[in-house]
Amino acid sequence: MALVQTTHGEMDESLLRKEEGAFEDDNEITTWVEYWLGSELVHRSAHVTLKKNVLTEGITQMIS
């Protein structure tokens, strides 16, 4: 039995509907997971991996 932290406290994952997604572009890789109790969103987590420093060019222009 897996427990999920929700707005109602810890709940058994089997009682919830799980949705997952992902997004990627030049700047980031993002994954997210949602748990729904009926039509109510009770948990959402997101994980963003930064792929590069978006400020590099600006810093380069200032320093160089």
Binding site: Q5, T7, E28, T30, R44, H47, V48, L55
Partner: protein, 151 residues
């Protein structure tokens, strides 16, 4: 041999360790690394290169989120490679069991040791968190992808 005009790579690295001071202030009394923090900002905020210091204005608010954000883990000293100086936090930045209901898309890294002065702004796709965890995982710490680079 020929001489080549350039900014010395060693100098770039030394900028990241406050070795040089072209002005009269501030005078650095300590020799230990400063504490850096990461604050999250609403998608409706205006945080950019003109931001000079941390402000609570338009910072996210919500359950288990502490104003000012999370402390950045700094266990890896700045380094240089080629002609680039770089530094990256040595661990992911994690906000655990938070509820952040209003969309946010920005992290401001700032120096909490030096009057909360701003360091850099990082944006990402707009997010909300509900009784969950928001994690920012760092890129590879090298001259190509390091989070803070002086090229």
């Amino acid at each position: 041999m020929a001489n080549t005009q350039a900014m010395c790579t060693s100098f770039k690295g030394e900028l990241l360790t406050a070795t040089h001071n072209f002005g009269a202030s501030p005078t650095r009394a300590g020799s230990t690394a400063d504490t850096f923090k990461a604050a999250l900002y609403l998608a409706s905020a205006t945080i950019n290169a003109s931001t000079t210091a941390y402000s609570a204005t338009n910072e996210v608010t919500g359950t288990n989120y502490t104003a000012g954000g999370a402390t950045v883990t700094n266990a890896t000293a700045p380094a240089t490679s080629g002609t680039t100086a770089y530094w990256t936090p040595s661990a992911s930045i994690t906000y655990t069991n938070v509820t952040l209901s209003t969309a946010f898309d920005t992290m401001l890294m700032y120096n909490s040791t030096q009057s909360n002065k701003a360091v850099a702004v990082y944006t990402f796709g707009s997010q909300t968190i509900t009784a969950g965890t928001f994690t920012l995982t760092m890129p590879t710490n090298d001259a190509t992808t390091g989070l803070l680079r002086l090229a």
